[in-house]
């Protein structure tokens, strides 16, 4: 119990520090890759000391894992608005829910690209990433199943497979089509994905 008392605040502090580093790292990633960023640079941008950093994170990989949890946790929460829509919700509500997810995602696009990149060589980040992807798939799956039970969605739809496809489509598509640059028009991007999700299940 004594150990737990000592460790629990440390974990909470770690997440607090990660939350403090998140916007700073996001800003730096607009102009460089995660591999190019030094701990000094990130700590300075977030206005924390190097020693504070090392108090809570073993290294850059460890920080990225904490940031993955922070951002993907936020995204899964944002996506709940979609997954909890009633089966008979009109298309306009689906569009609103997906616009919300898009808006929450956009400021984190650069970080999410860094996360996806490092999944190819960092096993710890990959595990964290895949856990959240799994959570996403489960959320979509429940939404589809509820729609099928209410006979609002196609009964011949392979719910498990389609949930996985939509989950991955959002992961990859958001990282390419969302962001703070003006390359893509958010309204069109959201309208297109609303059509895809709508037509996929109805």
């Amino acid at each position: 119990v004594g150990q737990l008392r000592r460790e629990a605040p440390q974990l909470v502090r770690r997440q607090v520090i990660a939350r403090q580093l998140l916007p700073a790292v996001g800003r730096l990633l607009e102009h460089s890759t995660y591999a190019e960023l030094s701990i000094e640079k990130m700590a300075r941008e977030a206005a924390i000391s190097r020693s504070t950093f090392y108090n809570y994170f073993a290294d850059k990989g460890d920080l990225l894992r904490a940031l993955t949890a922070e951002v993907m946790g936020t995204l899964v929460d944002a996506a709940r608005l979609w997954w909890t829509l009633p089966p008979d919700a009109p298309k306009e509500d689906l569009r609103g829910a997906l616009a919300h997810l898009f808006a929450i995602y956009s400021p984190h696009a650069a970080l999410m690209r860094a996360v996806a990149d490092s999944t190819s060589h960092d096993a710890a980040v990959r595990e964290e990433f895949l856990n959240y992807m799994h959570g996403g798939r489960e959320g979509v799956l429940k939404w589809i199943r509820r729609g099928q039970r209410a006979t609002a969605f196609r009964a011949d739809l392979d719910a498990t497979q389609v949930a996985a496809l939509l989950d991955w489509m959002f992961e990859r598509g958001l990282s390419q089509l969302a962001g703070t640059d003006d390359e893509h028009n958010p309204i069109r991007v959201v309208a297109a994905v609303t059509d895809i999700v709508w037509k996929a299940v109805h």
Binding site: S120, L165, M169, Q176, V189, H202
Partner: protein, 209 residues
């Protein structure tokens, strides 16, 4: 330094191909065994392939270079696997779409170990990343034009935003292809069925309420 005669040059090119083949087989084994290409060193590759580090560098500039020529050939094979998609009738049935999608997934699965090495290496090799982006952008453009043609002929819902829809569908396809690496034949079939089901409903069903 003597200028190599053409036959010496041919010999060297053949030797390069032979060594590339041996190295790529090692890469394939390591990646299929769950290792990331990023974490495999040139020393390890060379040792297992039975060549020296110096020999590696006499034929390839770096780890990315080893994959570059393979990628070009792999992309051609993938492109050929898309011929069924291009040959679909103007108003394809679900079965037509399914029959066009299966060979693409199957082809990619055969390439998946080295493709994942390419994707890992592309995160740090700018020229390899450019090759991959060019291929993806080309596929996205082809899909966009496919959608636009369908909208002209009235097969595809005219309200769909072609460029963005192509972007999202390509994102789905990219990730679906990567999933084929670990898919059993049974789950590959289920995946192909679901993918073609979604694509058919999005592009051709045209029965929106």
């Amino acid at each position: 330094v003597a200028v190599p005669t053409p036959s010496k040059r041919t010999q060297r090119a053949q030797r390069r191909e032979d060594i590339r083949g041996r190295l790529l087989r090692v890469v394939e084994d390591r990646v299929a065994g769950g290792e990331s290409y990023a974490n495999v060193s040139i020393d390890q590759l060379a040792t297992v392939a039975g060549i020296s580090r110096a020999t590696f560098y006499s034929y390839f500039a770096d780890k990315g270079d080893l994959l570059r020529a393979w990628l070009a050939a792999a992309l051609e094979e993938l492109d050929a696997a898309c011929n069924g998609w291009r040959a679909m009738p103007d108003r394809p049935s679900r079965e037509d779409v399914h029959a066009a999608v299966v060979p693409i997934l199957e082809k990619y699965r055969g390439l998946s170990a080295l493709m994942s090495a390419v994707i890992a290496e592309a995160t740090r090799d700018g020229s390899l990343r450019a090759d991959v982006s060019r291929a993806t952008a080309g596929a996205r453009k082809a899909l966009r034009e496919h959608i636009e043609r369908g909208q002209v002929t009235g097969v595809v819902d005219p309200r769909l935003l072609a460029p963005e829809t192509a972007g999202w569908l390509m994102a789905m396809l990219e990730r679906a292809l990567m999933q084929t690496a670990t898919a059993s034949p049974k789950s590959l079939r289920a995946q192909a069925a679901a993918l073609s089901d979604v694509v058919w409903h999005v592009l051709y069903a045209n029965d929106e309420r």
